[in-house]
């Protein structure tokens, strides 16, 4: 049986005396669109940072494509990092570079390309995420919030990775912009066959794009398919999926199904 694409086992994260994760397990299989959900301060971002190797966990195992990354050096991690893309919450675009140069930076670091091929491929990625071609020569400060998010995805796709991490991709977007971004996520998943892991608060996004959901409650993760997680008895999960804001959405989804 092939390895899960992302596997977290018995993860413990502590800051001083504050325990953020205590034995957290998570598995993302190939072709999943996996949503990480949780209240503010529940450690969603810390979990993502642990998976990306930006945060060294107190204990536990993080495997990406079967390899434990918690004990690898920076140099050993490099080829693994070329296999996934990350779009940070606020884009984290390099402010001194144009969008085109932002997308090219991973290519320059990881691929041996002639400059005309690099231009073409970077431009392709920019169009793929739905940005107009003239956005390529703009600096991040000249972009709107939605365009920054798309540019961040274009940069994450630079190396054609099979796995994509998105940190709150629809936060800060208006409902139409958020829906358009959901379309992009679906496109990436269905057409480009990407496996996607995203942190999100957005119920609309979850119901439209995700097939599996992991909820961080009590410093652990409860994960299941979307259909089953909404029936989970944990009070926080109940409140989250059956609160005032969620009810209409859920009813709609049921009717549609």
């Amino acid at each position: 049986m092939p390895h899960p694409l992302v596997e977290v086992h018995a993860l413990v994260n502590r800051f001083g005396t504050q325990v953020v994760h205590d034995g957290l397990d998570m598995q993302v299989e190939k072709d999943d669109v996996f949503a990480i959900v949780g209240g503010s301060g529940s450690g969603k971002t810390v979990l993502l940072r642990s998976i990306l190797g930006l945060q060294h966990p107190a204990s536990g195992v993080v495997r990406i494509a079967g390899r434990d990354i918690t004990h690898l050096s920076f140099a050993q991690l490099r080829p693994i990092k070329a296999r996934y893309g990350v779009a940070f919450q606020h884009g984290a675009l390099y402010s001194g570079l144009t969008v085109l140069q932002n997308v090219q930076l991973p290519m320059i670091e990881h691929l041996d390309l002639a400059s005309d091929a690099r231009d073409e491929l970077a431009l392709l990625k920019i169009r793929l995420v739905g940005l107009p071609g003239d956005a390529a020569s703009k600096y991040p400060a000249e972009l709107s919030g939605g365009m920054v998010k798309r540019a961040a995805v274009a940069r994450a796709l630079a190396l054609d990775p099979p796995l994509l991490f998105l940190d709150e991709p629809t936060s800060g977007l208006d409902p139409l912009g958020a829906a358009a971004f959901d379309d992009l996520v679906l496109y990436l998943h269905e057409q480009l066959k990407l496996t996607i892991v995203m942190i999100t608060h957005d119920l609309d996004s979850i119901f439209r794009t995700c097939n599996r959901v992991g909820v961080i409650v009590d410093r652990r993760m409860e994960s299941d398919t979307l259909d089953r997680i909404v029936e989970h008895p944990h009070p926080w999960i109940q409140a989250y999926f059956h609160g005032e804001r969620a009810r209409s959405r859920l009813a709609g989804a049921r009717h549609g199904a």
Partner: protein, 371 residues
């Protein structure tokens, strides 16, 4: 990853096998470019042997297809064409025409450059003056109430720019006075007028070196800090947040820094003067065997009543220039981290330049006034 070419008459069969991924792009592109299309009428591409085909590799294939079609060769796939090609076509269509390369300065001639430079310098100067004017107006209008002058903020800046700078200012003042004493002792000893070493050290430190070096240290230390702090606040939209709250950023950010430095720099200058004279005493004792009592007596004789004040009165002017340069360039930061670095550099360079320029003007002024 490989391309196998089989030729039968005027038909080519390309068999693609293995992993076709972004990291092999250059090799793939080279292999496809090497396919000889001369004499071929039809090309068939078999993709059954591919284990993977990502978008970058598909782009290389698309390039090849375009070349073949341009050469008038009919291209077909054995089986269905890969999905990736359809995605690429859709993406290219949707994106519209390729963007024009951003033109840099359209015209480049010496005259045009000079013109641009002049206009830009003029605009810069106007902005500077506007900034200075606004700072002055804000200060004057704040004079009415103690609260609007932000005393707590001023105290914080006196502490950060003044108290914490004391060790480095003292150390540098000591070393500079040692250098002056040493240099002049070497020159004057031959003439038998060692005693003038004291005059040189005293007048040099009190009139010029004490205040000038302190100002230059603060330009590097606090001018840069002001620019970096305000600049990152600009990037973070904190300045906009202040304005949106109805708080004048000049009142809470600029004026307290300027006033803080205007208080701190003269105090630091006094310390530098004291330490500088001490350094002179140490070196005169060591090099010239001059007892301390004789040194002090000579110090008293060499200075006029104005010497100390001439040095000290320059300090607030230097402080004003340094703080304004730092705050001005900090507030000019827009958009990017690179811009922040550029403005901080400008702040320090401009502060040091203006301090020295002001010092030169003071020297001329004092000579005319015969002080």
């Amino acid at each position: 990853m490989a391309v196998e070419v089989r030729r039968t008459g005027d038909a080519l069969l390309l068999e693609l096998t293995g992993e076709w991924e972004a990291r092999q792009f250059t090799a793939i592109d080279a292999q496809l470019a090497a396919v000889d299309l001369t004499g071929a009428q039809r090309v068939q591409i078999a993709t059954a042997g591919l284990t993977s085909l990502d978008l970058s590799a598909a782009w290389a294939l698309r390039r090849f297809l375009q070349r073949a079609r341009a050469a008038g060769v009919a291209v077909g796939f054995r089986g269905a064409p890969p999905d990736q090609l359809r995605l690429l076509d859709a993406a290219v269509e949707e994106g519209g025409a390729a963007p024009a390369v951003p033109e840099s300065l359209a015209e480049k001639g010496a005259l045009i450059s000079i013109g641009r430079f002049t206009v830009r310098s003029g605009a810069d100067l106007m902005r500077w003056l506007t900034f200075f004017g606004r700072a002055c107006v804000t200060f004057v209008s704040g004079l009415g109430s103690a609260q609007r002058l932000r005393p707590i903020s001023i105290v914080r800046h006196v502490y950060e720019t003044g108290i914490t700078a004391m060790p480095i200012v003292a150390l540098i003042a000591f070393l500079i006075s040692v250098i002056v004493a040493y240099l002049s002792a070497q020159q004057l000893r031959g003439l038998g007028v060692d005693i003038y070493v004291v005059d040189l050290v005293t007048i040099g430190v009190l009139r010029e070196l004490g205040v000038l070096l302190t100002a230059i240290i603060l330009a590097g230390r606090s001018g840069s800090a002001f620019a970096a702090e305000l600049g990152s606040m600009q990037l973070n939209e904190e300045v906009d947040a202040l304005i949106a709250t109805g708080v004048d950023p000049f009142e809470v950010l600029v004026v307290p820094r300027v006033l803080g430095l205007i208080i701190a720099l003269p105090l630091l200058t006094i310390i530098a003067d004291l330490v500088g004279l001490t350094g002179g005493a140490v070196l005169c004792g060591y090099l010239l065997d001059m007892p301390l009592s004789q040194y002090l007596e000579r110090v008293n004789e060499s200075i006029a009543s104005t010497t100390f004040w001439v040095g000290l009165m320059k300090a607030p002017v230097f402080a004003l220039v340094i703080a304004l340069a730092g705050c001005y360039h900090g507030m000019q930061v827009r958009g990017s981290a690179r811009e922040l670095g550029r403005q901080v550099t400008l702040a320090v360079v401009q502060a040091i330049f203006l301090v020295i320029l002001a010092d030169a003007l003071f020297a001329v002024l004092f000579m005319k006034l015969d002080i």
